[in-house]
Amino acid sequence: MAGEERKNWRRRLKTPKSAIKGEIITIKTMAEHIMEPGVRRDPETGVIYPKKIIDLVICRFNGKQIYKSHWYSGVSANPFMSFKMKAISSGLLEVEWVDDYGQSSYKKAIIIVYDENGKEVIPMKLDKASSIKELM
Protein backbone atom coordinates (compact mmCIF):
# COMPACT_ATOMS: atom_id res chain seq x y z
CA MET A 1 0.00 0.00 0.00
CA ALA A 2 1.31 3.39 -0.90
CA GLY A 3 0.58 5.20 2.34
CA GLU A 4 2.12 2.53 4.50
CA GLU A 5 5.80 2.77 5.28
CA ARG A 6 7.66 -0.46 4.94
CA LYS A 7 10.81 -1.18 6.87
CA ASN A 8 13.44 -3.84 6.29
CA TRP A 9 13.18 -3.85 2.52
CA ARG A 10 14.02 -7.29 1.31
CA ARG A 11 16.57 -7.99 -1.39
CA ARG A 12 16.77 -11.34 -3.07
CA LEU A 13 19.53 -12.75 -5.23
CA LYS A 14 19.71 -16.14 -6.86
CA THR A 15 22.80 -17.52 -8.54
CA PRO A 16 23.97 -21.04 -9.30
CA LYS A 17 26.37 -22.11 -6.54
CA SER A 18 28.83 -23.62 -8.96
CA ALA A 19 29.47 -23.49 -12.68
CA ILE A 20 31.82 -24.87 -15.31
CA LYS A 21 34.30 -22.46 -16.89
CA GLY A 22 32.87 -20.82 -19.98
CA GLU A 23 29.29 -21.63 -19.03
CA ILE A 24 26.70 -18.87 -19.36
CA ILE A 25 24.87 -18.52 -16.06
CA THR A 26 21.68 -16.63 -15.21
CA ILE A 27 21.56 -14.24 -12.26
CA LYS A 28 18.13 -13.42 -10.87
CA THR A 29 17.47 -10.50 -8.55
CA MET A 30 14.42 -9.09 -6.86
CA ALA A 31 14.11 -5.96 -4.73
CA GLU A 32 11.15 -5.18 -2.54
CA HIS A 33 10.26 -1.55 -3.23
CA ILE A 34 7.12 0.55 -3.66
CA MET A 35 8.52 2.26 -6.82
CA GLU A 36 6.24 5.27 -6.39
CA PRO A 37 6.31 7.16 -9.71
CA GLY A 38 5.38 10.54 -8.20
CA VAL A 39 2.17 11.12 -10.14
CA ARG A 40 -0.40 9.29 -8.01
CA ARG A 41 -2.61 11.09 -5.53
CA ASP A 42 -4.13 10.07 -2.24
CA PRO A 43 -7.82 9.53 -3.10
CA GLU A 44 -9.02 11.26 0.07
CA THR A 45 -6.70 14.21 0.59
CA GLY A 46 -5.49 14.78 -2.97
CA VAL A 47 -1.88 15.00 -1.84
CA ILE A 48 0.63 13.62 -4.35
CA TYR A 49 2.70 10.70 -3.09
CA PRO A 50 6.35 11.77 -3.37
CA LYS A 51 8.44 10.05 -6.00
CA LYS A 52 10.53 7.23 -4.66
CA ILE A 53 12.06 4.75 -7.06
CA ILE A 54 15.18 2.67 -7.47
CA ASP A 55 17.03 4.41 -10.28
CA LEU A 56 20.36 2.59 -10.43
CA VAL A 57 21.32 -1.05 -10.26
CA ILE A 58 24.98 -2.04 -10.35
CA CYS A 59 26.42 -5.53 -10.40
CA ARG A 60 30.05 -6.18 -9.56
CA PHE A 61 32.06 -9.34 -9.85
CA ASN A 62 35.22 -9.42 -7.72
CA GLY A 63 34.94 -5.66 -7.32
CA LYS A 64 34.77 -5.01 -11.05
CA GLN A 65 31.57 -3.61 -12.53
CA ILE A 66 30.01 -6.02 -14.99
CA TYR A 67 26.46 -4.72 -15.30
CA LYS A 68 24.75 -1.41 -14.74
CA SER A 69 21.23 -0.21 -15.50
CA HIS A 70 19.41 3.07 -15.03
CA TRP A 71 15.73 2.84 -14.18
CA TYR A 72 13.09 5.54 -14.49
CA SER A 73 9.48 5.81 -13.33
CA GLY A 74 7.37 3.13 -14.93
CA VAL A 75 9.13 0.13 -13.45
CA SER A 76 6.68 -1.96 -11.47
CA ALA A 77 6.77 -2.40 -7.71
CA ASN A 78 8.98 -5.17 -6.34
CA PRO A 79 11.06 -5.20 -9.55
CA PHE A 80 12.46 -8.47 -10.83
CA MET A 81 15.57 -8.34 -12.97
CA SER A 82 17.73 -11.05 -14.45
CA PHE A 83 20.79 -11.07 -16.65
CA LYS A 84 23.31 -13.55 -17.98
CA MET A 85 27.05 -13.65 -17.46
CA LYS A 86 29.89 -15.88 -18.53
CA ALA A 87 31.60 -17.81 -15.78
CA ILE A 88 35.37 -17.28 -16.02
CA SER A 89 36.61 -17.67 -12.48
CA SER A 90 35.31 -18.12 -8.94
CA GLY A 91 34.41 -14.97 -7.14
CA LEU A 92 32.11 -12.72 -5.21
CA LEU A 93 29.05 -11.32 -6.94
CA GLU A 94 27.54 -8.15 -5.49
CA VAL A 95 24.35 -6.46 -6.64
CA GLU A 96 23.68 -2.94 -5.43
CA TRP A 97 20.38 -1.07 -5.63
CA VAL A 98 20.43 2.74 -5.26
CA ASP A 99 17.23 4.75 -4.93
CA ASP A 100 16.71 8.39 -5.84
CA TYR A 101 17.27 9.46 -2.24
CA GLY A 102 20.77 7.99 -2.43
CA GLN A 103 20.00 5.09 -0.14
CA SER A 104 21.71 1.95 -1.26
CA SER A 105 21.48 -1.67 -0.31
CA TYR A 106 23.30 -4.68 -1.59
CA LYS A 107 23.25 -8.42 -1.63
CA LYS A 108 26.16 -10.74 -2.30
CA ALA A 109 26.71 -14.31 -3.38
CA ILE A 110 29.71 -16.51 -4.01
CA ILE A 111 30.02 -18.47 -7.24
CA ILE A 112 32.57 -21.27 -7.51
CA VAL A 113 33.76 -22.06 -11.02
CA TYR A 114 35.46 -25.34 -11.92
CA ASP A 115 37.42 -26.12 -15.03
CA GLU A 116 36.97 -29.30 -17.09
CA ASN A 117 39.29 -31.28 -14.81
CA GLY A 118 37.19 -30.47 -11.75
CA LYS A 119 39.74 -28.01 -10.37
CA GLU A 120 38.61 -24.65 -9.04
CA VAL A 121 39.53 -21.62 -11.14
CA ILE A 122 40.93 -19.11 -8.67
CA PRO A 123 40.68 -15.45 -9.74
CA MET A 124 44.22 -14.57 -8.59
CA LYS A 125 47.50 -15.90 -9.90
CA LEU A 126 49.74 -17.63 -7.42
CA ASP A 127 53.39 -17.67 -8.37
CA LYS A 128 54.40 -20.18 -5.77
CA ALA A 129 52.38 -22.93 -4.16
CA SER A 130 53.82 -22.02 -0.77
CA SER A 131 52.74 -18.39 -0.82
CA ILE A 132 49.96 -18.88 1.75
CA LYS A 133 52.42 -20.46 4.21
CA GLU A 134 54.70 -17.50 3.88
CA LEU A 135 51.92 -15.14 4.85
CA MET A 136 51.35 -17.08 8.04
Binding site: M1, E4, R12, K14, K28, M30, E32, N78
Partner: protein, 267 residues
Protein backbone atom coordinates in the same frame (compact mmCIF):
# COMPACT_ATOMS: atom_id res chain seq x y z
CA UNK B 1 -65.55 -18.15 -5.28
CA UNK B 2 -66.04 -15.74 -2.43
CA UNK B 3 -63.60 -13.05 -1.41
CA UNK B 4 -62.45 -15.00 1.67
CA UNK B 5 -61.89 -18.12 -0.36
CA UNK B 6 -59.64 -16.17 -2.66
CA UNK B 7 -57.68 -14.77 0.28
CA UNK B 8 -57.32 -18.22 1.80
CA UNK B 9 -56.26 -19.66 -1.54
CA UNK B 10 -53.61 -16.97 -1.96
CA UNK B 11 -52.34 -17.42 1.60
CA UNK B 12 -52.24 -21.17 1.16
CA UNK B 13 -50.40 -20.94 -2.12
CA UNK B 14 -47.81 -18.54 -0.65
CA UNK B 15 -47.39 -20.83 2.35
CA UNK B 16 -47.04 -23.96 0.28
CA UNK B 17 -44.65 -22.19 -2.08
CA UNK B 18 -42.50 -21.22 0.89
CA UNK B 19 -42.47 -24.77 2.19
CA UNK B 20 -41.64 -26.01 -1.27
CA UNK B 21 -38.75 -23.59 -1.77
CA UNK B 22 -37.42 -24.32 1.72
CA UNK B 23 -37.45 -28.00 0.91
CA UNK B 24 -35.46 -27.38 -2.23
CA UNK B 25 -32.96 -25.30 -0.29
CA UNK B 26 -32.62 -28.00 2.36
CA UNK B 27 -32.11 -30.69 -0.23
CA UNK B 28 -29.65 -28.61 -2.19
CA UNK B 29 -27.91 -27.10 0.81
CA UNK B 30 -24.86 -29.29 0.43
CA UNK B 31 -24.94 -29.47 -3.34
CA UNK B 32 -21.73 -28.11 -4.80
CA UNK B 33 -21.75 -26.07 -8.01
CA UNK B 34 -18.69 -27.99 -9.23
CA UNK B 35 -18.04 -31.69 -8.86
CA UNK B 36 -14.69 -32.66 -7.37
CA UNK B 37 -13.15 -33.52 -10.72
CA UNK B 38 -14.42 -30.28 -12.30
CA UNK B 39 -12.78 -28.04 -9.68
CA UNK B 40 -10.23 -25.71 -11.23
CA UNK B 41 -7.89 -23.52 -9.29
CA UNK B 42 -7.66 -19.84 -10.22
CA UNK B 43 -4.29 -20.32 -11.87
CA UNK B 44 -5.91 -22.14 -14.82
CA UNK B 45 -7.80 -18.97 -15.63
CA UNK B 46 -4.79 -16.69 -15.27
CA UNK B 47 -2.62 -15.79 -18.22
CA UNK B 48 0.38 -17.91 -19.00
CA UNK B 49 2.84 -15.12 -18.11
CA UNK B 50 1.17 -14.63 -14.72
CA UNK B 51 1.13 -18.36 -14.12
CA UNK B 52 4.85 -18.64 -14.87
CA UNK B 53 5.61 -15.94 -12.33
CA UNK B 54 3.56 -17.83 -9.75
CA UNK B 55 5.19 -21.20 -10.39
CA UNK B 56 8.77 -19.93 -10.06
CA UNK B 57 9.47 -19.56 -6.34
CA UNK B 58 12.07 -16.88 -6.90
CA UNK B 59 10.11 -14.79 -9.38
CA UNK B 60 7.00 -14.94 -7.22
CA UNK B 61 6.87 -11.60 -5.37
CA UNK B 62 4.59 -13.12 -2.73
CA UNK B 63 7.58 -15.05 -1.41
CA UNK B 64 8.91 -11.77 0.00
CA UNK B 65 5.97 -11.79 2.39
CA UNK B 66 6.44 -15.45 3.18
CA UNK B 67 10.10 -14.87 4.06
CA UNK B 68 9.20 -11.92 6.24
CA UNK B 69 6.53 -14.04 7.89
CA UNK B 70 9.15 -16.66 8.71
CA UNK B 71 11.27 -14.00 10.39
CA UNK B 72 8.28 -12.73 12.37
CA UNK B 73 7.44 -16.29 13.39
CA UNK B 74 10.85 -16.62 15.04
CA UNK B 75 11.02 -13.04 16.34
CA UNK B 76 11.07 -12.78 20.15
CA UNK B 77 9.09 -9.76 21.20
CA UNK B 78 7.53 -8.09 24.24
CA UNK B 79 8.24 -8.33 27.98
CA UNK B 80 8.06 -12.11 28.06
CA UNK B 81 10.31 -12.54 25.02
CA UNK B 82 7.60 -14.68 23.52
CA UNK B 83 7.52 -15.78 19.93
CA UNK B 84 5.33 -18.02 17.79
CA UNK B 85 8.20 -20.48 17.43
CA UNK B 86 8.47 -20.99 21.21
CA UNK B 87 4.89 -22.29 21.56
CA UNK B 88 5.05 -24.26 18.35
CA UNK B 89 8.46 -25.61 19.45
CA UNK B 90 10.15 -24.20 16.38
CA UNK B 91 8.54 -27.04 14.50
CA UNK B 92 6.47 -25.85 11.59
CA UNK B 93 5.07 -29.36 11.16
CA UNK B 94 2.68 -28.67 14.04
CA UNK B 95 1.02 -26.13 11.74
CA UNK B 96 0.87 -28.54 8.80
CA UNK B 97 -2.61 -28.33 7.33
CA UNK B 98 -3.78 -25.71 9.82
CA UNK B 99 -4.51 -23.15 7.14
CA UNK B 100 -6.64 -25.64 5.20
CA UNK B 101 -9.28 -25.76 7.95
CA UNK B 102 -9.88 -22.03 8.33
CA UNK B 103 -12.31 -20.25 8.75
CA UNK B 104 -13.56 -22.32 11.67
CA UNK B 105 -15.71 -21.84 14.76
CA UNK B 106 -13.76 -20.93 17.88
CA UNK B 107 -15.67 -20.20 21.10
CA UNK B 108 -19.03 -19.74 19.31
CA UNK B 109 -17.55 -17.32 16.80
CA UNK B 110 -16.44 -17.87 13.25
CA UNK B 111 -12.87 -16.63 12.76
CA UNK B 112 -10.42 -16.72 9.90
CA UNK B 113 -6.67 -17.28 10.01
CA UNK B 114 -5.74 -13.62 10.45
CA UNK B 115 -8.10 -13.21 13.40
CA UNK B 116 -6.77 -16.43 14.92
CA UNK B 117 -3.19 -15.12 14.73
CA UNK B 118 -4.29 -11.93 16.45
CA UNK B 119 -6.08 -13.92 19.18
CA UNK B 120 -2.93 -15.98 19.70
CA UNK B 121 -0.87 -12.83 20.06
CA UNK B 122 -3.25 -11.28 22.58
CA UNK B 123 -4.11 -14.30 24.72
CA UNK B 124 -0.99 -16.46 24.62
CA UNK B 125 1.82 -14.03 23.88
CA UNK B 126 0.54 -10.92 25.69
CA UNK B 127 1.34 -8.74 22.71
CA UNK B 128 -0.78 -6.08 20.98
CA UNK B 129 -2.89 -7.21 18.05
CA UNK B 130 -1.79 -6.44 14.55
CA UNK B 131 -4.00 -4.12 12.54
CA UNK B 132 -6.12 -6.11 10.10
CA UNK B 133 -4.68 -6.08 6.57
CA UNK B 134 -1.35 -4.74 7.86
CA UNK B 135 1.85 -5.97 6.30
CA UNK B 136 3.02 -7.95 9.33
CA UNK B 137 -0.26 -9.79 9.80
CA UNK B 138 -0.45 -10.72 6.12
CA UNK B 139 3.18 -11.86 6.20
CA UNK B 140 2.45 -14.20 9.10
CA UNK B 141 -0.75 -15.55 7.60
CA UNK B 142 0.88 -16.15 4.23
CA UNK B 143 3.76 -17.96 5.94
CA UNK B 144 1.33 -20.17 7.89
CA UNK B 145 -0.60 -20.89 4.69
CA UNK B 146 2.64 -21.54 2.82
CA UNK B 147 3.54 -24.29 5.33
CA UNK B 148 0.51 -26.27 4.21
CA UNK B 149 1.10 -25.70 0.52
CA UNK B 150 -0.20 -28.69 -1.44
CA UNK B 151 -2.56 -29.88 1.27
CA UNK B 152 -6.21 -29.96 0.12
CA UNK B 153 -8.64 -27.42 1.53
CA UNK B 154 -10.81 -29.07 4.14
CA UNK B 155 -13.15 -26.72 6.01
CA UNK B 156 -15.85 -28.19 8.20
CA UNK B 157 -19.43 -26.92 7.87
CA UNK B 158 -21.06 -29.31 10.32
CA UNK B 159 -22.16 -28.58 13.88
CA UNK B 160 -21.76 -25.03 15.07
CA UNK B 161 -20.50 -23.85 11.70
CA UNK B 162 -23.77 -24.76 9.97
CA UNK B 163 -25.57 -21.48 10.64
CA UNK B 164 -22.60 -19.50 9.34
CA UNK B 165 -22.51 -21.77 6.30
CA UNK B 166 -26.20 -21.05 5.58
CA UNK B 167 -25.57 -17.33 6.01
CA UNK B 168 -22.61 -17.50 3.66
CA UNK B 169 -24.59 -19.35 1.04
CA UNK B 170 -27.35 -16.78 1.32
CA UNK B 171 -24.85 -13.96 0.73
CA UNK B 172 -23.37 -15.83 -2.23
CA UNK B 173 -26.75 -16.05 -3.96
CA UNK B 174 -27.93 -12.56 -2.99
CA UNK B 175 -28.11 -9.93 -5.70
CA UNK B 176 -26.40 -6.71 -4.67
CA UNK B 177 -25.43 -3.29 -5.92
CA UNK B 178 -26.41 -1.14 -8.87
CA UNK B 179 -25.44 -3.93 -11.24
CA UNK B 180 -27.81 -6.26 -9.38
CA UNK B 181 -25.29 -9.08 -9.47
CA UNK B 182 -24.88 -12.11 -7.27
CA UNK B 183 -21.61 -14.02 -6.91
CA UNK B 184 -23.05 -17.17 -8.48
CA UNK B 185 -24.01 -15.41 -11.71
CA UNK B 186 -20.37 -15.02 -12.67
CA UNK B 187 -18.51 -17.69 -10.75
CA UNK B 188 -20.97 -20.58 -11.18
CA UNK B 189 -22.66 -19.92 -14.48
CA UNK B 190 -20.16 -18.29 -16.84
CA UNK B 191 -16.78 -19.19 -15.35
CA UNK B 192 -14.12 -19.37 -18.05
CA UNK B 193 -15.55 -16.67 -20.29
CA UNK B 194 -14.00 -13.25 -20.63
CA UNK B 195 -14.84 -10.24 -18.49
CA UNK B 196 -12.99 -7.45 -20.29
CA UNK B 197 -9.41 -8.75 -20.56
CA UNK B 198 -9.61 -11.36 -17.82
CA UNK B 199 -11.11 -14.80 -17.66
CA UNK B 200 -13.64 -15.29 -14.89
CA UNK B 201 -12.41 -17.90 -12.43
CA UNK B 202 -14.50 -20.36 -10.51
CA UNK B 203 -13.93 -18.20 -7.46
CA UNK B 204 -11.89 -20.45 -5.22
CA UNK B 205 -9.72 -19.06 -2.45
CA UNK B 206 -7.08 -21.79 -2.18
CA UNK B 207 -4.35 -19.35 -3.25
CA UNK B 208 -5.00 -16.70 -0.64
CA UNK B 209 -3.36 -14.59 0.78
CA UNK B 210 -2.33 -13.94 -2.79
CA UNK B 211 -0.15 -11.37 -4.53
CA UNK B 212 -2.30 -9.05 -6.60
CA UNK B 213 -0.39 -7.01 -9.15
CA UNK B 214 -2.95 -4.24 -9.13
CA UNK B 215 -2.20 -3.56 -5.45
CA UNK B 216 1.49 -4.42 -5.64
CA UNK B 217 1.18 -6.56 -2.56
CA UNK B 218 -0.36 -9.45 -0.71
CA UNK B 219 -4.12 -9.16 -0.14
CA UNK B 220 -6.40 -11.15 2.12
CA UNK B 221 -9.65 -12.79 1.07
CA UNK B 222 -11.69 -10.03 2.69
CA UNK B 223 -9.95 -7.31 0.70
CA UNK B 224 -10.67 -9.26 -2.47
CA UNK B 225 -14.33 -9.54 -1.46
CA UNK B 226 -14.41 -5.76 -1.00
CA UNK B 227 -13.01 -5.33 -4.50
CA UNK B 228 -15.61 -7.76 -5.88
CA UNK B 229 -18.37 -5.78 -4.19
CA UNK B 230 -17.01 -2.55 -5.61
CA UNK B 231 -17.09 -4.08 -9.08
CA UNK B 232 -20.80 -4.80 -8.65
CA UNK B 233 -21.23 -1.16 -7.51
CA UNK B 234 -22.23 -2.30 -4.04
CA UNK B 235 -21.24 -0.90 -0.67
CA UNK B 236 -18.49 -3.18 0.64
CA UNK B 237 -18.38 -4.32 4.26
CA UNK B 238 -15.36 -3.69 6.42
CA UNK B 239 -12.47 -6.16 6.62
CA UNK B 240 -13.00 -8.73 9.36
CA UNK B 241 -16.81 -8.46 9.23
CA UNK B 242 -18.74 -11.53 10.37
CA UNK B 243 -20.66 -11.67 7.08
CA UNK B 244 -17.42 -11.80 5.13
CA UNK B 245 -16.24 -14.63 7.38
CA UNK B 246 -19.45 -16.54 6.63
CA UNK B 247 -19.01 -15.90 2.92
CA UNK B 248 -15.39 -17.04 3.17
CA UNK B 249 -16.55 -20.25 4.84
CA UNK B 250 -18.99 -20.98 2.02
CA UNK B 251 -16.49 -20.12 -0.71
CA UNK B 252 -13.80 -22.24 0.94
CA UNK B 253 -16.25 -25.14 1.26
CA UNK B 254 -17.22 -25.11 -2.40
CA UNK B 255 -13.50 -25.45 -3.22
CA UNK B 256 -12.87 -28.22 -0.69
CA UNK B 257 -10.33 -30.61 -2.17
CA UNK B 258 -8.23 -28.05 -4.02
CA UNK B 259 -4.61 -27.93 -2.84
CA UNK B 260 -3.42 -24.75 -1.15
CA UNK B 261 -1.26 -22.64 -3.48
CA UNK B 262 -0.26 -19.70 -1.31
CA UNK B 263 1.17 -17.29 -2.43
CA UNK B 264 -0.57 -17.24 -5.79
CA UNK B 265 -0.11 -14.38 -8.23
CA UNK B 266 -3.04 -12.69 -9.92
CA UNK B 267 -3.49 -9.51 -11.89
Amino acid sequence: MSFYNVIIFILFSIFSLNVFSDEILDNKLYEKPYANNALKSGKYFAREETRNIELDEFENPGMIWVERGKDLFNLQDGENNSSCALCHKGDTNSLLGAAASYPKVYKNQLINLEQKINMCRKNNMNLPKYKLESNNLLSLSSFVSYISKGIPMNVSVAGKAEKYFKKGKEIFYQRIGQMNLACNQCHDEIAGSYLRAEKISQGHINGFPSYLMRWEGIASVHRRFQFCNNQARAQPLEIGHNDYNALQLYVAWRGNGLPIETPSVRR
